[in-house]
């Protein structure tokens, strides 16, 4: 395909954020082109957890970011609401289920840690409850004997990202948005009041530019001399063959890296942030066998019935990390170039951040004090 030579808005990044932004801008009546590299990363490789409570992994790994996480915490229940709204708007069934999320503890110390976490989260408006083992087993009988108790976050859930991404993509196309896939941006230049975007399929001029490329955003903003320290974090993922409904909740662990959930069609997706790596000149996200063993071993420890289920596929997803907080708003020194990178659990935040970005671009109130999200904090 060839690109249009001139368009109102170019959104770089065709993941959940880019498509959500494009959808909202196009609804506002603007002509939008979405450019995407077509890599199997980010949204394309996401597993569909809807996170609300603070993930213990981040608390452990980035203790310096806890303040940022807590500031953003009220966004997460809203983000789940944005997903529900999206499902209604698109009239699409992407197996979205607000089934509740459990963070399990294996002993009294872990339980105490969760209790403290829950109190802070409740103060910030989250619907969380502590469950002793007998209460827990009443709602999650699939958990193993090793589990002591859990924190339940009522508004967490899951969806099928393959169905959700397809539904959103179809809707965006139906609105007249142009999507250029397998297209690589090589340069960004400010021209007159707008921007010139050079790509592997030619050049396009736009009035408004939106960078929504997840971990790739930093490299793009560098073309405009703006520092955004996005880092790509390759993470291990597993999926099993389908089985009858077994794991009802989104399951995480207070002290160890695991997420477990079952898709509507019966497959169990197992992740939790075990490391993968980038391989070769194309930086292909590649699985580490040590992560596979460790991750699966923990999974069958938490849910023993997974033991006889067969692993079908592993892959490396790509998470974007920055400083635990969204990067959202006009680029410093640019009136018509914007950035939209969600904070942690970016897929969960995606539709909300897309809507907020579109509001900011249109000069409307994004509904949240986004000043701390400005990229100027990295200058």
């Amino acid at each position: 395909m060839s690109l249009p030579s001139d368009i109102d808005v170019v959104v770089i990044g065709g993941g959940i954020v880019g498509l959500s932004t494009a959808r909202a801008l196009s609804t506002d009546g603007r002509g939008v082109l979405v450019i995407d590299e077509g890599r199997n990363a980010g949204t394309n490789a996401n597993a569909g957890s809807l996170h609300v409570q603070m993930q213990s992994r981040f608390l452990r790994m980035y203790p310096d970011q806890i303040g940022n996480l807590e500031y953003s915490l009220p966004l997460y229940p809203r983000a789940v609401g944005a997903w529900q709204q999206l499902a209604r708007d698109l009239k699409a069934d992407f197996e979205l289920k607000i089934s509740g999320g459990l963070m399990v503890a294996e002993d009294a110390a872990q339980f105490a840690f969760l209790k403290e976490k829950a109190e802070r989260e409740r103060a910030l408006g989250l619907d969380v409850h502590m469950l002793e083992r007998n209460e827990l087993m009443a709602i999650a009988p699939y958990l193993g004997d090793a589990i002591y108790g859990a924190e339940l976050c009522v508004t967490e859930g899951k969806l099928n990202p393959l169905l959700a991404n397809s539904a959103l993509r179809r809707a965006v196309l139906a609105q007249g948005v142009v999507i250029a896939t397998e297209t690589i941006v090589s340069a960004l230049e400010q021209r007159d009041a707008g921007y010139l975007v050079s790509t592997s399929r030619g050049q396009v001029r736009c009035k408004t530019l939106v960078l929504a490329a997840g971990a790739g955003t930093g490299a793009l903003s560098a073309h405009l001399s703006v520092v955004i320290p996005t880092v790509a974090e390759p993470l291990h993922m597993n999926v099993t063959e389908a089985t009858s409904p077994l794991i009802l909740h989104l399951v995480q662990h207070a002290d160890r890296m695991i997420t477990l959930k079952q898709l509507g069609a019966g497959q169990v997706v197992i992740g939790g942030g075990w490391p993968a790596r980038f391989e070769g000149p194309q930086a292909f996200p590649t699985v580490e066998p040590d992560s596979l063993i460790g991750n699966l071993s923990l999974a069958q420890h938490v849910v023993p019935r997974l033991s006889r289920l067969r692993l079908i596929r592993t892959w490396a997803g790509v998470n974007t990390t920055c400083d635990g907080q969204c990067v959202l708003g006009a680029l410093p020194g640019h009136a018509n170039a914007f950035v939209a990178v969600p904070g942690d659990a970016g897929y969960t935040l995606g539709p909300l951040v897309g809507d907020m970005a579109a509001a900011i671009i249109a000069g409307r109130d994004p509904g949240f004090d986004v000043r701390p999200f400005s990229a100027s904090r990295f200058a």
Binding site: S166, L306, S307, R308, L311
Partner: protein, 556 residues
């Protein structure tokens, strides 16, 4: 006579029968239901397609074609999506470091013609060799051995295989079988699960001899129970001495179909017809026939005998026809065979063997990053190798059909060359005479194979024989219409088609639909058919139970 129970019914067992064989003999060809409720039975018969899954003694997702029957088992038909047995105690978490590590000098993956001869020649040179195979009895698809207790070898092919297996056993090659090799992460890092325990294998040299599996043939009705690959039907007969039905139709392209039709007929089957896609002997193929006779006179003669034997048995052999549809009739499966003029022949049978060529099992080589090129004549990827059979990944050798189809005799020669060379790399003395002889043999076998292909040359239909509701992906039940819909919007890459349709996400891990889709995208979008055109290779290389993957301890 002993028996097991299937859905409450007593199923008699003869020695050596797999679950699938015993059930087929009892007339039970439909073994499970898919998500849509459609019945499925054996398709590949060799552990690839995952279509014959049954529940055995409460353990779900067992491949009926790979599990031996045993008295007293309770086998049940599986409805989608199955159910894991209750248990509340999980094993203590382990790390990869807890796994037992094996450090053979040479790891040979695959116990067929190529792997056995590679293991043997490396062992003769003095190397410490570990051979692993998916099946409990080595021999692979060509030498397909009679299961223990099922009877004496049937013919020269099985005797030759039995002798090779016996030589390997006596030579001191260590054999781990049946074992699932599910992880290939580097030339010196493999993971294999054997007897419910996982081992990390760190070899110094590796020889891949993974063979091939049969290609799908997507036409209306190809997923009906009773429709299986020619190889699956041959395994039932050669390994288990089982005929899946009385009236059998054999349809395909290539000499294996003629051989199997004769074998089944000799075993008592009523072969209602044989359909061959190639045009058959005539002026056009005179040259190929001659080349065949010159490069492999014995095999060429055997080939001619196959055709005559069919005639002698009164079996109709339809050249230049192909199977274009199957439907379930009241009294059996009704197949439509169509010739080049579009004229149809209708044939009724109780089981149908489809043998339309092979795909190389190159998942391990591709996972290791070995370079592959697309071969237009063969229609599949071919592994790039040196004359010594080394891939572009140092210390990784590859032999036989997994590198691109070449036939069992060539695989044996390639195995010899790789085994001798790999042992030489370890400082063992190289048998120069044997190496030269193997190279000369290989040249001849390759000439023979080339002539054979010309003789059996036939057009590839791709997806052109599909109707809108024909499944192009058996596992995820993706119809041709669903694929068309996914392709209608933009020019999606194969990864994007996978995400949109779930093709390649099922239990066979894309082995059936992958090559079909690559060819279809090349045809419809003009995409190159190079190694990047395929689904990215991702572990596990076969589905393995999570509890077995993370078991470092003693067998259960």
């Amino acid at each position: 006579m002993s028996h097991f129970r299937f859905e409450g019914r007593e199923i008699s067992i003869r020695p050596g029968q797999t679950i699938a064989a015993a059930l087929a003999e009892a007339g039970e060809l439909a073994l499970r239901d898919t998500r849509s409720g459609a019945p499925r039975g054996v398709w590949c018969g060799m552990g690839v397609c995952q279509d014959c899954l049954v529940t055995i003694d409460g353990e779900e997702n067992m491949r009926a074609c790979m599990v031996k029957s045993a008295p007293g088992l309770t086998v049940t038909r599986q409805a989608f999506p199955g159910q894991t047995a209750a248990r509340s105690i999980g094993a203590k978490p382990i790390t990869a470091g807890d796994l037992q590590e094996l450090t053979p000098e040479i790891l040979v993956i695959g116990g067929g013609a190529g792997g056995l001869s590679a293991a043997l020649s490396a062992r003769f040179a003095g190397a410490d060799v570990l051979l692993i195979d998916e099946r409990s009895v080595a021999g692979g698809q060509y030498y397909k051995q009679t299961a223990e207790g099922a009877g004496p070898p049937l013919d020269r092919q099985q005797r030759e295989g039995a002798a090779l297996v016996a030589d390997v056993m006596a030579s001191g090659v260590q054999i781990m079988a049946p074992a699932d090799l599910w992880g290939a992460y580097a030339a010196d890092l493999f993971f294999v699960t054997h007897n419910h325990q996982t081992y990390r294998i760190k070899p110094r040299q590796v020889i891949l001899a993974t063979g091939a599996y049969e290609r799908p043939w997507p036409v209306p009705g190809w997923t009906l129970p009773g429709v299986m690959t020619t190889g699956a039907m041959q395994t039932l007969w050669r390994s288990s001495r089982t005929l899946p039905a009385k009236r059998i139709l054999v349809a395909g392209n290539g000499p294996l179909n003629l051989q199997v039709a004769n074998e089944l007929a000799a075993g008592g089957a009523n072969i209602v017809a044989v359909s061959e896609a190639a045009a058959g002997p005539g002026l056009r193929t005179l040259g190929s026939g001659l080349a065949l006779a010159l490069s492999g006179p014995a095999l060429a003669l055997e080939g001619a005998k196959l055709v005559l034997a069919l005639k002698g048995r009164g079996i109709a052999l339809h050249w230049a026809t192909r199977l274009v549809a199957v439907e379930q009739g009241l009294t059996g499966l009704r197949a439509t065979l169509r010739n080049q003029l579009g004229q149809d022949i209708f044939v009724e049978a109780d089981a149908i063997a489809l043998g339309y060529g092979f795909s190389p099992a190159n998942e391990i080589a591709r996972a290791l990053g070995a370079e592959h090129r697309h071969d237009h004549d063969k229609g599949h990827l071919v592994c790039v190798r040196t004359a010594e059979m080394e891939t572009t990944v140092p210390n990784v050798f590859a032999v036989g059909d997994g590198c691109g189809l070449g036939g069992a005799p060539a695989a044996r020669s390639e195995g010899l060359i790789a085994g001798i060379t790999a042992a030489g790399r370890l400082g063992r003395s190289v048998n120069v005479t044997a190496l030269a002889a193997a190279n000369a043999d290989l040249k001849r076998h390759r000439r023979f194979q080339k002539a054979l292909w010309r003789l059996f040359d036939a057009p590839e239909p791709g997806l052109s024989l599909c109707s809108a509701d024909t499944l192009v992906c058996r596992c995820e039940e993706v119809t041709k219409a669903a694929l068309d819909a996914a392709l209608a919007d933009g020019s999606p890459s194969i990864a994007e088609v996978k995400r949109r349709t779930r093709m390649g996400m099922g239990r066979c891990q894309g082995r059936n639909c992958g090559p079909l889709l690559v060819a279809h995208l090349a045809e419809t979008q003009g995409r190159p058919m190079d190694e990047h055109a395929y689904f990215a290779p991702r572990g596990p290389l076969k589905p393995v139970a999570i509890g077995d993957i993370v078991s470092a301890g003693k067998p259960r």
